[in-house]
């Protein structure tokens, strides 16, 4: 007989051990997106150039995690409810407008995951968006997004998704199906198409780095104060000569880029990516002329914008211990769902660095006794 207590870790704090309760870590993330100034072609508003930058900060906090398995069952269903939020500040700079508009978008909502313990996950995200323009003191305008996705993990190398979303990432109001396919392991190399969010090839680069080549839409719909006077060849007018004090500014581009993510630990990752923007466009739409909240907006101004390079960089920080999910492919898909569909409807890159990395045999060479004393019993030595 051995007394594990006597041979135990003398560095113990004496506090009560608190086992992890959730599958998701409390997470904050922040990223910055930049595109340079570009000249605009002839247009009826007399705008001469356009540049766009945005910064976004968001969080996830697990509120409730329930495991529903019975002691005599081999199936482990679970439910996770997360509180999510995001604050985005965007700055479109137009040559020809008198002032700079800083457009903000704030969302706080909830997301629900139900994993049936086999292959199926249901995912729902609800939460209002509040948009505002610093140029005007109008109250925040409430919009809503919605997401429902069914995920089926057929194997570690293949999963598919179907669902429905209301989204603004194409610079307008759209109700779209969600269709997703993934080929390859989420903790290895994989190819993923997640309409309308992204298409990517992802690959590990050693223990701490991973890379991806991707295509995705970037955009949004924002409230824009109708306060600027514009000088045209005939007259001086407001941006929109109607009764609207606020108009809706839409922007959209498709970006093709390469990304490198550094994840030195489960608690921290950062990324930098760059590439080209394509099919850029901007638009302005009147509230008065688009009274139906469910219909796609008809803009009074629509302008294509030249392609450019972009820079996108960000960090993700995770807190606390989580329950083990090694090689649990359905749980990996649950984490990927959480990271693919960011809370702010901004299509931000959060990354899958919360999915455990596969083991590397070289680690054994670096092991010290103190690293494994908790894992060994005295009998193991005989």
């Amino acid at each position: 007989m051995s007394f594990a207590g006597i041979s135990g870790d003398s560095s113990g704090s004496g506090e009560k051990h608190r086992p992890p309760r959730h599958y998701f870590s409390a997470t904050i993330y922040s990223n910055y997106y930049y595109t340079p100034r570009r000249a605009l072609g002839n247009n009826k508003l007399g705008l001469t150039s356009y540049q766009f930058t945005q910064s976004s900060t968001g969080f996830y906090v697990p509120l409730i995690t329930r495991d529903y398995h019975r002691s005599d069952s081999t199936v482990l269903p679970n439910l996770s409810i997360l509180l999510v939020g995001n604050y985005q500040a965007s700055t479109p700079v137009f040559g020809g407008l008198q002032s700079e508009h800083r457009l903000t978008k704030t969302t706080v909502g909830f997301r629900f995951f139900y994993n049936n313990g086999k292959k199926n996950i249901w995912f729902v995200n609800i939460g209002p968006l509040f948009t505002q323009d610093s140029r005007s003191r109008f109250d925040p305008v409430k919009h809503s997004t919605f997401l429902l996705v069914f995920n089926r993990t057929e194997s570690e190398k293949f999963s598919w998704r179907l669902g429905f979303t209301k989204t603004f990432i194409f610079g307008n109001k759209f109700h779209l199906p969600v269709i997703g396919l993934r080929f390859g392991r989420l903790d290895g190399t994989y190819f993923s198409i997640q309409f309308p969010r992204n298409m990517s090839i992802n690959f590990p680069m050693g223990r701490q780095f991973s890379g991806s080549v991707y295509w995705k839409p970037m955009g949004g719909l924002y409230d824009f104060a109708n306060v600027d006077s514009i000088k045209t060849s005939l007259d001086t007018t407001l941006l929109y000569n109607g009764r609207d004090s606020i108009v809706q500014f839409g922007r959209s581009e498709f970006i093709v880029g390469a990304n490198i993510t550094w994840s030195p630990s489960r608690f921290f990752s950062c990324f930098v990516s760059s590439g080209l923007t394509m099919a850029n466009h901007i638009s302005f739409a009147s509230y008065q002329n688009n009274p139906n909240k469910f219909k796609t907006l008809k803009p009074f101004y629509f302008q294509s914008v030249r392609s450019s390079y972009f820079i996108n960089a960000g960090i993700t920080i995770r807190f606390g211990k989580v329950k083990k999910v090694y090689n649990n492919y359905t749980m990996y898909d649950m984490m990927d769902l959480n990271n693919t569909f960011d809370p702010g409807d901004n299509n931000d890159n959060i990354g899958n660095s919360d999915i455990p990395k596969p083991g590397d045999m070289n680690t054994i060479r670096k092991i010290q006794y103190k690293d494994v004393e908790d894992l060994l019993e005295i009998e193991d030595i005989y």
């Binding site: 007394f3 594990a4 207590g5 006597i6 041979s7 135990g8 113990g12 704090s13 004496g14 506090e15 009560k16 051990h17 086992p19 922040s30 910055y32 930049y34 910064s55 002691s71 069952s73 081999t74 482990l76 313990g117 086999k118 292959k119 993990t153 194997s155 570690e156 030195p264 630990s265 489960r266 608690f267 921290f268 950062c270 820079i311 960090i315 920080i317 329950k323 083990k324 090694y326 090689n327 649990n328 492919y329 359905t330 455990p356 990395k357 596969p358 083991g359 590397d360 045999m361 680690t363 054994i364 060479r365 092991i367 010290q368 006794y369 690293d371 908790d374 894992l375 060994l376 193991d380």
Partner: protein, 152 residues
């Protein structure tokens, strides 16, 4: 991108790197060992897709429960270990009973796990799992003794 934003971005990155980038070495190595053990078992068991889908959630749950039990036990026993020589008979009796209770709980967890495993894996693979866990411990011990596995 103006200078102010670049400075804010870099400062945030720096704070994050210094504050959160590095886990405690011991914690990090433990996580790596855990990942390594999983990789080792994956290789030795050659699970089919269906087996893997049922096995890994059970295994994760089982190892999590054992780890929690072990940590809780260590904290409980900490009060004894610094004064073994001065223990009263009553303390020693309480100590032995706590130790036995811990071992019984651990055995119950193992029994429960193997009962569940029988429903998802053939008996031979359950034996292979036990052997893989033992072999992995040996690998670790060889590593500690300086006879590093995998060659130099």
């Amino acid at each position: 991108m103006n200078a102010h934003k670049i400075i804010v971005l870099l400062a945030t990155l720096l704070i994050a790197l210094t504050g959160f980038g590095q886990q405690k070495p011991k914690q990090k190595t433990k996580e790596e060992i855990e990942a390594l053990r999983v990789a080792y078992i994956t290789k030795k068991l050659s699970l089919t897709t269906a087996e893997a889908q049922a096995f890994w959630p059970l295994y994760n749950e089982y190892t999590q429960k054992r780890e929690d039990l072990r940590k809780e036990h260590k904290l409980k026993m900490k009060k004894y270990k610094e004064s073994v020589d001065e223990m009263t008979d009553a303390d020693a009796q309480a100590y032995i009973e706590a130790e036995m209770a811990y071992r019984q709980k651990d055995l119950d967890l193992q029994k429960d796990f193997y009962k569940k495993l029988k429903a998802v894996l053939p008996a031979k693979k359950i034996v292979l799992l036990a052997k893989a866990e033992e072999d992995f411990k040996k690998l670790i011990l060889e590593g500690l003794s300086g006879d590093k596995p995998g060659g130099k």
